[in-house]
């Protein structure tokens, strides 16, 4: 292949080494690698990569700055559009966004934009560069509900514009899904998530943990009694779904949320933490998204032979390509075109296996993916002592049910305008998974930024 067609390969932990630890899989570029990779950018006049980025980072400019070795300038370019660059560089589905549109990708590899973003963010952190606190504030109080990607990016933008922002978080730690959901080996907590949250706080944003909006205090009380002039709801989609098959309440059946929350938020996988972690020798994870991959790779690292059971085929797996690739390398067994019909239990009510049927793909359904159809008489059993359900999540109805005048749709998602987050209630804005249902970190960040813009316009005209 001609020079320049292939990307600079990023260093990773070897699959069999990392399958037994929780250290980050991808080691990232060093300066030389980053500059060499950045030099592959063609600096297109009409940069398609930017079109593919939900928060429209000025990609050609920051990549050029990396190629020139001016990493601080590159950082300032990125943070002008993104509050969480170290996170996005790691968890965005780049192959469907910026890199998917890269002209280089038409003949050879796309420029490795995600890895470059990560490099710049990590370099800035290691060199103590932080976003700057605004010099003047306007004194207007805004409440942000939820400290996940939507809430953090909304709070970050509002603080930069001088607002007095308080984030309310229900759990004992900030970060939302970045903290409780995405595992350490994909997104390190102390090294990446906590510093990103600290960066937002360094803009002047206050954080109050242990506050459940709708229970500890309502939105109406925040606005009427505590002086908040606007509220952004970024409470995510936290309620786990189950299949409704027999045996699903057996001991040893967990939602992916439970399994990952124990491992990530509660650090139950570490012996000096008090929360217990489910033990498993043979684990089946049901589902094919990023959360399924995260749960499976966690179970594998804790010593289980781990299967992914997914009812469609490989092409339909909704997970990021890199996660599927990593999972396979690490030894996760993929049982595709397979659907569970019953969880089998022993006499004490513990899981002992899972009965499945084989599927084939029929006509495309409403989602455009080919509908899986059961193959008659194809029942078989997989032995398992743990089953993790990673079937998706839906929004928590708590806030909607305790806020007068806040409209929700049939899927219990809050109804909000995409461009500014405006809900059916004056002064209340919303975005992220609470509005769309479960999606990605970057889409939540985009919605958080839209909500910040909406709040800024609303309070400027008030």
């Amino acid at each position: 292949m001609a020079a320049g067609l292939e990307r600079v390969v990023v260093r990773e932990q070897a699959p069999l080494v990392r399958a037994a630890n929780f250290e980050e899989v991808c080691l990232g570029y060093n300066k030389e690698e980053a500059m060499a990779e950045a030099a592959r950018c063609l600096n297109c006049k009409k940069a398609q990569c930017m079109v593919g980025c939900p928060v429209a980072i000025d990609i050609p400019t920051f990549v050029k700055q990396v190629a020139d070795g001016d990493f601080e300038a590159a950082y300032q370019t990125i943070v002008a559009s993104s509050s969480l660059p170290a996170v996005c560089g790691r968890v965005c589905p780049q192959e469907k966004q910026c890199e998917g549109k890269c002209v280089r990708g038409k003949k050879g590899d796309a420029v490795s934009i995600g890895k470059l973003e990560r490099f710049v963010a990590d370099w800035a952190r290691e060199n103590g560069i932080k976003p700057k606190k605004p010099e003047t504030t306007n004194g207007k109080k805004v409440a942000v509900i939820g400290s996940g990607p939507a809430g953090l990016s909304c709070a970050g933008d509002l603080a930069k514009w001088g607002y007095d922002v308080t984030i309310f978080e229900a759990l004992h730690e900030a970060g939302g899904v970045l903290t409780y959901g995405i595992p350490e080996f994909r997104l390190p907590k102390d090294a990446v998530v906590k510093p990103e949250v600290e960066n937002i706080k360094s803009l002047g944003v206050k954080l109050e943990t242990d506050v459940i909006i709708g229970k500890s205090v309502t939105i109406d009380e925040l606005m009427e009694e505590e002086g908040f002039e606007a509220v952004f709801i970024g409470s995510g989609a936290g309620l786990p779904m189950f299949m409704g098959i027999p045996g699903e309440n057996a001991n040893g059946v967990y939602s992916a949320n439970e399994y990952l929350t124990r491992s990530n938020l509660m650090k139950a996988r570490l012996s000096d933490y008090d929360t217990p972690m489910p033990e498993s020798k043979k684990c089946v994870v049901v589902g094919g998204g990023n959360v399924a991959m995260d749960a499976a790779r966690t179970a594998l690292r804790l010593g289980a032979e781990t299967h992914i059971v997914y009812r469609r085929g490989e092409e339909e797996l909704p997970a990021r390509a890199e996660e599927v690739h990593h999972a396979k390398e690490e030894g996760i067994i993929f049982d595709l075109l397979t659907n569970p019909v019953e969880i089998l239990t022993d006499e004490n009510g513990w899981v002992k296996g899972i009965r499945c049927v084989r599927m084939e793909l029929g006509e495309p359904d409403a989602s455009g993916r080919r509908r899986p159809v059961v193959i008659e008489g194809s029942e078989f059993e997989i032995e398992a002592d743990a089953v993790i359900m990673a079937l998706g999540t839906s929004p928590n109805p708590l806030i909607a049910s305790t806020t007068a005048g806040l409209e929700v749709n049939k899927r219990r998602c809050i109804v909000a305008e995409a461009e500014n987050g405006q809900t059916s209630k004056a002064g209340v804005f919303a975005g992220g998974d609470a509005v769309t249902g479960a999606a990605t970190v970057i889409l939540a960040m985009e919605a958080g930024r839209a909500g910040a813009k909406g709040i800024h316009e609303y309070l400027s005209n008030k």
Partner: protein, 295 residues
């Protein structure tokens, strides 16, 4: 950080703590619970709210140190802090949502078993403050283990104390008292039973026999307490419910107690169960979820 203002030993095995938690104290109602976490490495432990003082911004919790975490809590003294104290969680008791007129027409019976006396107390107190008198049965293994007797006496209509060994009050289990009261001609049209799972199960069998609708308060394994993890799921009727957001109170005649008891032992090792049995001695009531308690 949440300051512990008072620690009181209610009996040889049960502790009461008053904790400063302004937001919780301001908004909580009887029937709800909190989650408390000692320090960075601690578990999130759900505990029912026993009392609250909105003016002082305090919440009272009552617990029996059993697991590793509650045993750590037991070492704390007034002036110490919990790192996290979040709530109120769960739905308030349905009684709090009914009109006072309707409540006054009802004959309400509370049945409290052991530490379950603590979550029963705020409900009886709330009713009392709204001019509704409810009868209360408090059951314990033995005289020393009866808690909150004076407090309960002050707010209950008739208070019936019973001990399994007959050392105090009536002699026998709470289910026997229910049978006796009905035999004595008492009529109840609403019952709330709170205590160990096995006690609630048998209370429900008893009240079902007498045709008394019965609410129970479930306390299964939980992690976040906000509906996120599903660890606390139960079968109620034919539906899956999450105790943390749909409960903790449910129609006791519809709860699948056998499944709930099995699930409650999920994180208990054989070793842990043995320690528990030895520690609790005569008071062992099936908290290990394994042995079926007294039955």
């Amino acid at each position: 950080m949440y300051k512990i203002l008072k620690v009181e030993q209610l009996n040889p095995v049960v502790l009461l703590m008053v904790v400063e938690a302004k937001r919780v104290a301001k908004s909580c109602l009887p029937g709800q619970f909190i989650i408390v976490k000692l320090d960075e490495k601690g578990e999130r432990v759900p505990l029912t709210i026993c009392d609250y003082d909105r003016e002082a911004g305090t919440v009272t919790i009552v617990f029996q140190p059993v697991g590793a975490s509650t045993q750590k809590f037991a070492k704390l003294q007034a002036g110490d802090y919990f790192m996290d104290f979040v709530g109120p969680l769960g739905r308030p008791s349905d009684l709090c949502e009914e009109s006072i007129e309707e409540l006054k027409k009802k004959k309400i019976l509370f049945v409290a078993g052991g530490v379950g006396t603590a979550p029963v107390y705020p409900q009886v107190k709330w009713l009392h403050e709204h001019g509704v008198e409810a009868d209360v049965i408090v059951g314990a293994k033995t005289k020393d283990l009866v808690i909150l007797e004076k407090e309960m006496e002050a707010v209950a209509g008739n208070l019936y104390i019973t001990t399994d060994d007959g050392s105090y009050g009536r002699h026998g289990m709470v289910t026997k008292v229910i049978d006796d009261l009905v035999a004595e001609g008492k009529v109840y049209d609403h019952c709330v039973a709170i205590g160990p799972m096995i006690m609630m199960k048998f209370c429900c069998l008893t009240t079902k026999k007498h045709g008394i609708p019965t609410i129970v308060s479930m306390n299964p394994v939980m992690v976040d307490g906000t509906g996120m993890c599903g660890a606390c799921r139960l079968t109620v009727g034919n539906e899956i419910k999450f105790a943390c957001v749909d409960g903790p109170e449910f129609d006791g005649h519809l709860v699948n107690f056998d499944e709930a008891m099995k699930r409650s032992q999920m994180y208990k090792t054989a070793e842990g169960r043995a320690v528990l049995k030895q520690k609790e001695g005569d008071t062992h009531h099936g908290g290990c979820g394994n042995c079926g308690g007294d039955e």
